[in-house]
């Protein structure tokens, strides 16, 4: 089966500072993969390249077999994104934000309207559809962003530290909801985080990014077993390596 995402030998630098170096990994369809790495590991740069905010100059990125550089439209159609930075238009209502996202993907109204309803219901936002994004709390804003990322029925969902600034119950509920999406709809998910408690060691796949390089990739259980048994041990190991360098 074609991978949902295949990143091959990707490097990127900001001037002389290298942010990513020969990064390669893949995400199988329908899997939940956590992209784990401390702050500054290169996660956001990687996301910017996968979403083509800027071009990948070294290496290649493919989404469901479509090369991002050669067929960006085809590749981006498969992709839903929730950025770390909030990207809602605060002056628009929840409904208007979702309609705008549907328009940006060129969805006709007859297709967009039921999908907006579906996502409002799934994210438990129906009662807030008429509220301006500005008046929502952090958790609800995040839900709107996830609903927006799902409007065009992507096959791969990227979330860049989506729980930043949220309280513990909201974080847990959001993670559970995304896992549910993965199981029920067969959506592939790449969840970037630096919080080890957001990873389910028994079911998730793990890509560990450290100092712009892939440090480990595979089933979370296998990686943990090889690195002390727990995610905290793994993070301590990364910290030790950083201190030693």
């Amino acid at each position: 089966m074609t991978d949902a995402l295949r990143v091959s030998s990707v490097s990127h630098a900001y001037g002389r500072r290298k942010a990513l170096e020969a990064v390669s990994f893949h995400i199988p369809q329908g899997s939940f993969t956590a992209l784990l790495g401390p702050n500054g590991a290169g996660k956001s740069t990687l996301f910017s390249l996968i979403t083509r905010l800027f071009d990948c100059r070294e290496g290649s990125i493919g989404l469901f077999g479509a090369d991002l550089a050669q067929s960006p439209g085809q590749a981006l159609r498969q992709l839903g994104v929730v950025f770390q930075q909030p990207t809602l238009d605060l002056d628009l209502t929840v409904m208007q934000n979702l309609r705008y996202a549907a328009d940006l993907h060129g969805l006709p109204r007859r297709i967009a309207a039921p999908r907006i309803e579906r996502e409002l219901k799934r994210m438990e936002l129906s009662p807030r559809r008429g509220e301006k994004a500005r008046n929502l709390n952090g958790g609800h804003r995040r839900r709107v962003e996830i609903a927006r990322a799902l409007i065009h029925d992507p096959k791969l969902l990227l979330l860049d530290e989506p729980t930043v600034g949220l309280d513990v119950p909201t974080r847990k509920s959001l993670i559970a909801q995304i896992h549910e999406l993965c199981r029920q709809d067969g959506l592939a998910v790449l969840w970037a985080t630096h919080l080890v408690d957001e990873i389910d060691p028994d079911h998730d796949r793990l890509v560990v990014l450290h100092k712009g390089r892939i440090w480990a990739e595979g089933e979370a259980a296998g990686i943990l077993a090889a690195n002390g048994g727990s995610l905290n041990d793994l993070f301590s190991k990364l910290a030790e390596e950083e201190a030693a360098a």
Binding site: Y14, F54, A101, H105, G106
Partner: protein
């Protein structure tokens, strides 16, 4: 079809934002009105405007500066759009636009189109208010000016987009007022005819003739009187195209944002 839906969505969002920001409409009208009511009244007696095309008789100074003030409305709207692009980029909301599967150049053209629509609405709102002050144009002129507003809106909107692709931080935007807006406006025929400027300084008159905004204003002036100024139309079209191509390059995934991110 999906391209049209995207265009509609971007224009619709810009309209909604414009309607929500009532102070923006208020500001867009008050600024030129201050010039029309206060400045033009003061200068009416001091400044004589000789008969020159497209006018076939002596005209009050208020009538002379009206096309320039329409240009001013469009100029400030373009800079406001540019500012909001920089703000959207800093706040992150532009990312939602840029991950659309449609080509980046098309998204930029859609943003430009949305800005032009708002700019034309503002211009007509100003023309309506100016009409109530007695500074009017021939009735048919309000229709024939539309293509000129479209062309001038395109040129200035593209310039705004280009500036937004070059400006790295919101704080730097203040410089645009000093180094772009004021020179464009004051070194043009918006407030005085070229021959009047020439009486004071040949150099300044030459600078005015190199300023693309001069031609935007003249295009509007002639169009308001049902006439077509070919040279102005050509300059506005060429300048608009150059600005737009540069703006599209500035927002290209291979150039603009990566460079901006590096700072």
């Amino acid at each position: 079809m999906s391209w049209l839906i995207c265009l509609k969505g971007i224009v619709w969002r810009e309209m909604l934002r414009f309607l929500h920001q009532r102070s923006r409409l208020f500001g867009a009208l008050v600024r030129p009105l201050m010039w029309l009511v206060v400045f033009a009244t003061g200068f009416r007696a001091a400044l004589g405007v000789a008969i020159a095309p497209p006018y076939d008789t002596y005209i009050p100074y208020g009538v002379y500066i009206m096309p320039g003030l329409v240009g001013m409305v469009q100029l400030f709207n373009a800079m406001q759009s540019s500012l909001s692009m920089v703000y959207d980029r800093e706040m992150g909301s532009m990312r939602a636009l840029l991950v659309s599967p449609l080509p980046r150049w098309y998204l930029i053209v859609c943003k430009l189109a949305a800005g032009i629509v708002v700019s034309i609405l503002q211009s007509y709102a100003f023309l309506a208010v100016a009409w109530t002050f007695g500074d009017d144009a021939p009735p048919l002129g309000y229709l024939t000016v539309l293509p000129a507003l479209l062309a001038n809106g395109m040129m200035l909107g593209a310039l705004g987009l280009l500036l937004s692709s070059l400006i790295r931080q919101l704080e730097n935007f203040a410089g645009v007022m000093n180094f772009v807006v004021f020179p464009l406006f004051f070194l043009s025929t918006a407030l005085y005819p070229i021959w009047k400027i020439q009486e004071g300084s040949d150099i300044l008159a030459n600078v005015c003739q190199l300023n693309p905004f001069t031609y935007g204003v003249e295009l509007i002036r002639f169009a308001l009187y049902g006439q077509f100024d070919g040279l102005s139309a050509l300059v506005v079209a060429v300048a608009g195209t150059v600005f737009l191509v540069a703006a599209v390059m500035g927002y290209s995934p291979s150039r603009g944002l990566a460079k901006l991110k590096a700072t």
